[in-house]
């Protein structure tokens, strides 16, 4: 009986340590493998935040969004694409950083579909600029 209890306690400790290790050192989930909660055009999502930031925040923040629209600007690090702005207007944009740098070629003004975790909206209340940005992190290019 004592041996069974000791064995059980040891097993529980080992499982606990393994779970804690797994949780502590786990990598981010791959956004590409997760179904988007909402699929929208870049203008639609920016407009929703401009119309009612509180409601749009509750609806979209921490959710995976799939956004389509024209590429306004591309940012490269070490010649790989690491983030992009999606919009036709530089003041009203969706700004997405990619989970993994993209090695292929993309052209500004071409249409793109990107999936990413919505981290919120930065609007004109915070700055001297009109407009606003919906921000996506850990993005993945769909097409």
């Amino acid at each position: 009986m004592k041996r069974t209890l000791t064995f059980g306690a040891l097993t529980a400790i080992i499982i606990g340590v393994l779970v804690a290790y797994q949780v502590s050192f786990k990598d981010h989930d791959d956004t590409a493998d997760i179904e988007a909660a909402h699929k929208l055009n870049c203008e639609e999502v920016v407009q929703e935040f401009l119309d009612d930031e509180t409601a749009a925040t509750a609806k979209y923040v921490d959710q995976i969004l799939e956004i389509n629209g024209p590429i306004l600007a591309i940012e490269r690090t070490d010649q790989q694409i690491t983030s992009m702005k999606i919009s036709m207007d530089e003041l009203y944009v969706v700004n997405a950083t990619l989970q993994n740098p993209f090695e292929g070629e993309l052209e500004e003004n071409s249409e793109i579909v990107v999936k990413g975790v919505c981290s919120g909206f930065l609007g004109d209340a915070e700055s001297m600029l009109p407009g606003g940005v919906v921000e996506l992190k850990r993005g993945s290019i769909i097409k």
Binding site: H28, E75, T97, S119, L129, E135
Partner: protein, 184 residues
């Protein structure tokens, strides 16, 4: 005469363009916490930053949830326990760049030192701060770089005892932004 007129127009346009607003939506902000237990770094490549070249008014803002950490658990602790991103989603600095008097704004040499004095708001706490920075003219706009330190405790950011040794008491912050002309 024609040449003189063209030269005058070019001069005027450069003066006018150096007087307006300059901005970016994708500035970089990084913070780094170093302890004997571990180093923690987070990056946000979506800093909004605006400079009014005429008045020196200067602002930047970042979403807390746009900081990306290597490990999801770190990101979760940062957002939920430390900065409470749902309650205080943004960090902002509003102030003015001092030391621009006498500087030719159309042609600021590399490594020009300035001070941005203003209010930094994090976690709902506002602190007066003077940020040492460098500014230079680049690609028709301005490149700005600043490194400064913040003390999480000053912003009522409570670090639980369980991870107290993992988080530095003073955190290094780096801000980099390439501002371009705002033409509207």
């Amino acid at each position: 005469m024609k040449l003189l007129l063209v030269s005058a127009l070019i001069l005027c346009s450069s003066v006018v363009s150096a007087q307006g607003k300059y901005f970016t939506r994708d500035g970089h902000v990084k913070f780094f916490s170093a302890t004997s237990v571990e180093d923690i770094e987070a990056r946000n490549h979506k800093l909004t930053c605006v400079l009014d070249a005429a008045s020196g008014q200067f602002e930047f803002a970042a979403l807390m949830k746009s900081f990306e950490f290597k490990k999801p658990l770190m990101e979760e602790h940062f957002n939920e326990n430390f900065v409470e991103s749902n309650k205080y989603p943004k960090g902002t600095f509003k102030g003015s760049v001092q030391g621009l008097d006498g500087i030719d704004m159309a042609n600021i040499p590399s490594g020009t030192n300035v001070v941005a004095a203003g209010k930094l708001e994090i976690h709902g706490v506002v602190k007066e701060l003077e940020l040492a920075a460098t500014i230079e003219s680049r690609d028709g706009g301005y490149a700005i770089h600043s490194t400064f330190k913040i003390v999480p405790e000053d912003y009522n950011i409570e670090i639980p005892n369980t991870v107290r040794d993992n988080i530095a008491k003073v955190v290094d912050v780096t801000v980099e932004a390439q501002l371009k002309a705002f033409n509207r």
